[in-house]
Amino acid sequence: MDSRNFIVSREDWSLHRKGHQDQLRHEQKVREAIRRNLPDLITEESIVVSGGKRIVKVPIRSVEEYRFRYNFNKSKHVGQGSGGSKVGDVIGIDPAAAGGKGAGAGDRAGDDVYEAEIELAEIEEMLLGELELPNLKPKEKERTHVADIRFNDIRKKGLTANLDKKRTILENLRRNAMEGKPRIGGIRPDDLRYKTWEETEKPDSNAVVLAIMDTSGSMGVFEKYVARSFYFWMVRFLRRKYEHVQIVYIAHHTEAKEVSEEEFFHRGESGGTICSSAYAKALEIIAERFPPSRYNLYPFHFSDGDNLSSDNERCVALLNELLDKANLFGYGEVNQYNRNSTLMAAYRSIRRPNFRTCLIREKKDVYQALKTFFTGPAASE
């Protein structure tokens, strides 16, 4: 066969969807991996400290293609410079952060960790989609309020400030074309288009969450981190599902104080621990601002449980008072090493349907805590 023969052809490749199909399959695996790793993921630092950014990068390890390979970090490599390279020149730096992913890793064979870019909203959906505030009851004086304002309507009349210039010009062009002279010019009042909004109303759920956090000296880095992770997701969950939930932040050591969201998440720690101070504070706030007849109340308390032992009795008493008023009280104890004689021990005797506890030993358990507190009616109801 004369090798100078050649054929040029162009087929219909439109049905050739293999790449897309397998890509879909890959994305499916990524999602499965995320789901499986949800407990780990939700405490992933990059999310918790992201400040709620829309897109987060999360390392997904189980869709890596494992094989036997050389350790890139311990091997020698040949590179090419643009002239004048010397021994000792630094050509790249690995950020010291988790995993040591290299800068400009694009054309390097090195670390092949797959980083999925996920919208925070997606993780939220997976994580929080099934959560709900339990025991939510309709309260008197249900207000409705405007929940949403969307600019999704175009009308011929409106405010001048909301003139949609693009559409107006399009209208003008269209009309001129119909008249036989396609051009832009001679804009008439009829051409004008305005953006207007629509209001959607949502009934108020009249719920208040009292977030109580132990900020005493015994709450170390891990304890603080766990508590903040929990509350981070709790806040996102609430804001997502319940437009008008109010959140009251109470921080305590030997004394309790109502604080802002900012302070709650970033306040330092010190001092001894008297948990009853926080409960007293909570009751005070409820009495002043949130009568149970008008509000669904959800106090939560996160602590390492290392309370002043003489205070435990008072805690139990105040807790019961709170339970009289609240829809649900959730107590989360961060206790890595199985310490005894903590608050949890004192609370063991309390058997009330609207009291739920959760023990957290490692970061993974935060997910469990969320599920424990934020699911349907209490089991024993």
Partner: protein
Amino acid sequence: MSGEDIRKLEEAIAEITGVAAGFGLDFFPMRYEICPADTLYTIGAYGMPTRFHHWSFGKAFHKMKLHYDHGLSKIYELVVNSNPCYAFLLEGNSLIQNKLIVAHVLAHSDFFKNNARFGPTNRGMIESMSASAERIRQYEQEYGADTVEAFIDAVLAIQEHIDPSLFHPFGLDRSRAEQKRAELAKTKRHPPAGEYDDLLKIGETPGEPPSPPFAPQRKKVPPQPEKDMLWFISTHSRALEPWQQDIIGMLREEMYYFWPQLETKIMNEGWASYWHLRIIRELDLTEAETIEFAKLNAAVLLPSRYTMNPYYLGLKIFEDIERRWGREKLFEVREFDMDTSFIRNYLTEELVRDLDLYIYEKQGPEWKITDRGWENIREQLIRSRVNGGFPYLVVDDGDYGGNGELYIRHSYEGIELDLKYVEKTLPYVHRLWGKAVHLETVVESKKVLFTFDGEKTIRKFL
């Protein structure tokens, strides 16, 4: 692309083909396929137009598309080692882009046809892969897509562990190659001292004492350390169904097909770059085309800090060979060498200096240049090409502990394995073998044994 465009393209191809043949290039008949971007990336990601389904290809496809959509890719050239030789042209390419690609792939076709390493490759691989993909599809129907996928995951984890030293005059039929070896070994038993004795010793471990003929001993399996792990597992594992053995066979065959391309990447790309430059120079280009060509060419040859560009390195070496020995020599080299010998024989001190090559390593958090000695650099380049750049692993024992366990040894030569990956890959091997698997390697100058028993990995120093 209009009919007029295609006609112009065909004219250009005819001209380029003539020029190439005039230079002495000897290639298979070409089939140029024009296709849209997605298709091109699919083929690129899969390596072949007809490969089976797997999510890892989906991942590669997505990455390629991403890079293209972000404008990060160079011109995409895609050519298959086959007869007739298929080459793919991106639908949106300009005429000059296509001219460059055509010149480039013609040289590739010549390389595939003439380089000795490609001699035994299956030139009908496109059809073979299509048949394989079809069989896999059938298995998916019969056993479930998830089951098949999980199995393929495991095989892909060790896909590169074949024995490339096996030159198979009998194709991939392993038993016949073994037979041949046994025959050779028999004639060796009463050896007349000959010049070529060492050739007959291929496959033997040097220094092993001959076993006394009638001593009772457990027959060791494998009798010699076995490099072709895929073959060994598929024939000796008690945990595989016939369909699974079939899949391993298919993937093994694919690996043997692709292997020469791994071994000759620098040469092949250098060869193609050398010729696309010379061929295009012979054409009458418009001024605009000339400028465009210069830009494209520069993009292809761009050096990189973290690796060397095979196109550029290969090209420079070929140009140097021509300068020193003339064009005839180029054709010889393209026939007989592979990357390791190519670099060893033809990478000179001047070239290393001109290309500003260096060795770099990680020290603390920084990647630093540690060596500019040309011999070390050459040595390192060669090392990185040995065994396709993959760790050299052999099966030492298929019945370790008398318990049917698999013992694999890493033939350590100074570079350590990625231990995290070892721990993640052993479970895949276990999935294929069905019993405990062991991997011996060296870490920080000490021998270590990794064992996976089906549940967890244990590490112990030996």
